[in-house]
Symmetry: C2
Subunit: 139 residues, 2 copies
């Protein structure tokens, strides 16, 4: 683990470090990515999980809207750029080992490309998995 992230484990409540140094110290994977969770700031519902590189974290903080890195398209992705389903950033937190991000957001429209409110719509129910909610305009 990067030394700075390790030091912060025992830092007291309210201690601060420069953002740039923390972003340098994150434990990006071999593709330069960390996982990112988006959570509805109002309801607490977990909306989706995606990936961010350093540049997408910076753009998110600069613009106030969630940017991710698309592994399939290998490019930065402004969530909602085409659908309008943007995520306005409320706050952004980093986890104890520096390889995961949690964003609380105000979600416009649906987080999921199926137009369900959350991407986590497949719930285990005994020995079956149950679909929660109907799809909207999904293809």
């Amino acid at each position: 683990m990067a030394e700075l992230i390790k030091q912060l484990e025992t830092a007291p409540d309210g201690a601060t470090r420069p953002l740039n140094e923390v972003l340098d110290a994150l434990r990006y994977n071999d593709r330069g990515l960390v996982t990112a969770i988006a959570q509805d700031a109002r309801t607490g519902e977990v909306l989706m999980l995606a990936w961010m590189n350093r540049e997408s974290i910076e753009r998110t903080l600069e613009t106030g809207y969630a940017w991710y890195f698309s592994r399939s398209r290998q490019k930065l992705w402004w969530k909602g750029e085409t659908s309008g389903h943007v995520q306005k950033l409320v706050d952004l937190c980093i986890d104890c080992d520096g390889d995961a991000i949690l964003m609380r957001v105000e979600q416009a429209g649906s987080a999921c490309h199926t137009y369900r409110p959350s991407c986590f719509y497949l719930r285990v129910d005994g020995d079956r998995v149950r679909v929660l909610g109907d799809a909207g305009n999904a293809g």
Copy 2:
């Protein structure tokens, strides 16, 4: 994307499929893992992000407590086995592309190894990162 997971995108509310078939169809990464989020079922707080393989998902469902796969130790890991900070499973959901799990849990003690309630205790605050909460018995 595995065909079954793709089919479920447009399946109606309440449709079900056999759990075993869905677990077969998950998009495990090249190490056989999917990401797993633990969320406090009562407060909605996102507690941690870790990784699961198929066996840890099955053990979680069979035992009713969260099991993960430790990438550093390369073995199954019963969360709280030594600390007592177990996570009692409330429900388990899978996301639209079959590579992320969301578990709502009843957390005993602290989710984080620093004894903070959540692992996401580093919050961006302008051009600084601020520590939220004091560490407990962390080393």
